[in-house]
Symmetry: C2
Subunit: 327 residues, 2 copies
């Protein structure tokens, strides 16, 4: 008999959140531990195992877990490892899939957070039944997960779908954490919005704005949102600028894979018409005629608190296949 539950684990820089999920996408139970408590990865896996095992027992789900899916930064579906360049307390690469599967005796598949979000959306969310869509996560950075022919696009090395790092400004672009300049992420993320605010406050020196009452170096996208809602012209312009550049990017993505929909997720995606109106206009205006009016722009329907665990858990259903894929 096939097992009725999967486990989803979302490893963030601060918290590791996990949950037991059924085939309908109902989160049966959740828990969490601190990601940075142990400087040794084995101690971390030990605590994760202890806490998660308690949750499984309490949920009467022993021997009923089909697979464990994990979303983590730089996690590679093919190798099962977390690659270099992440803000985690352990030396990389981290053989995460092997560590967790041997500890639990359950098949494990891992991928990065944005891919997990896309799989979650395809399995339980607004992209159910879609064979071609692009998930864009608008958080601190810009992440993406691309689905083509009903399959995640992992690329030949497992790292495909870095749409936050296509270049939007080829001259005088903003410095990006990836070491290059002008990446989409430096404009269309929460930090990008804050950077735009700082730029506008300086370049429009004479113009009044609620934002001028704030310490310029600690302005957040939330501050800009609040000011825009209060009617502040400059704050509204900042969202217009952000929507415009994101729309230009989405139009190019459409030329690549001609998706049925682009699904937005993350804090910035909840800015309502402030972002969505200029974004939709810019996307349509910049889209190649053959694709115009064809691509839906959707917001994720997954509850934010559950989404990361749900997305990761959806990968748990295919954990066996992933174990086969690994060399």
């Amino acid at each position: 008999m096939s097992k009725p539950f999967v486990v989803g684990i979302d490893i963030g820089g601060t918290n590791t959140v996990f949950g037991i999920v059924d085939a309908r996408g109902t989160v049966i139970a959740t828990g969490s531990i601190k990601t940075r408590k142990h400087s040794n990865i084995n101690d971390y896996i030990e605590e994760l195992h202890g806490e998660l095992s308690k949750l499984i027992v309490a949920s009467d789900a022993e021997d009923k877990i089909a697979g464990i899916g994990i979303g983590a930064p730089n996690a590679n579906y093919f190798t099962g490892e977390i690659a270099d360049g992440v803000n985690l307390p352990w030396p990389t690469p981290i053989p995460l899939a092997d560590l967790v599967s041997s500890k639990f005796g359950i098949p494990v598949a891992i991928t990065n957070d944005a891919n997990a979000a896309a799989i979650g959306e395809m399995t339980y969310g607004v992209a159910r039944g879609m064979k071609d869509f692009i998930m864009i996560t608008l958080g601190t950075g810009v992440g993406s997960g691309i689905v083509v022919n009903g399959q995640m696009v992992y690329g030949h090395d497992g790292f495909a779908g870095e749409l936050g790092h296509v270049i939007m400004k080829r001259n005088n672009g903003r410095m990006c954490g990836c070491g290059r300049t002008g990446c989409l992420e430096t404009y269309a993320s929460a930090t990008g919005v804050a950077r735009t605010a700082r730029e506008f406050l300086e370049s429009r020196a004479g113009e009044p704005s609620i934002l001028r009452a704030l310490d310029i170096d600690s302005i957040t996208s939330k501050d800009v949102y609040d000011a825009a809602i209060a009617g502040d012209k400059m704050a509204k312009d900042i969202f217009e600028f952000t929507g415009n550049i994101l729309g230009e990017a989405l139009a190019d993505f459409i030329s690549f894979s001609s998706p049925e929909a682009i699904v937005l997720f993350g804090g910035l995606a909840k800015s309502g018409d402030l972002l969505m109106k200029p974004l939709k206009e810019s996307m349509e205006k910049n889209t190649m005629p053959v694709f115009k009016g064809k691509v839906k722009l959707l917001l994720s329907e997954l509850k934010e608190s559950d989404a990361a665990v749900l997305g990761a858990s959806a990968l748990g259903w295919e954990a066996k296949a992933a174990a086969d894929i690994k060399k």
Copy 2:
């Protein structure tokens, strides 16, 4: 017993070339007719049927054709139609797959020329065994065919892979035939090279160049190539400019699907180091660190005279599947 041959048909603006191909990619026989001779599509199909049937009989291939693959501008794999906006003498949409399959009694699959080239490269060429690659055709325009997980990316509507129309210059970009400005195609195609030559000749008014002896309005990419080979500084700079912008574009494509290779095809791709040196440098320089040094830049190995027919023929092997896909 499975049938040993396929037919490939390449419908160009001037000539329609066809050939009979075996499973190894050997072109057994070829022929051609004029695309524009008949203003009625049925007369065209009639002549195609007559000429191709003669070829099949002469090649002793009657009842041995597994499928017919057709590459044609704006041809849609899903609908089997040639869509609007093409330079062909018949009203669109043209139900090409139905017309040809009912005339021949053989399954037919169609797609655009660049996708056909990608399938040809995957079946018979330099991309054999690759599951993830991008084909870029550098001709009058810039076409593309994208392969992910061993499958062509058609997108939800069959029109995916328009990489010649990602925007490379967001301000003061060149006018493109698609109605927008700044498309890659306006820079990195044969016509793009000629446009660059005209721009350079005007903007560098004082600089001597072999190209100044030519009529500025009729300069071709071949003229620029010949001048560069003869050592002309400006002509070499034109290739440098072209390679640089194409490399920037390829770097963005890599962030999308992380291909094992990018395969170049078409007249401009045969410019040797004049193009390839700046192109490789620019691609590596602009590629996101996680992908650097991982993606091969390859030239098509298919003989140019056979390539279009070979590419289309490769689609013939899956013509049955395509017939099933159609609603």
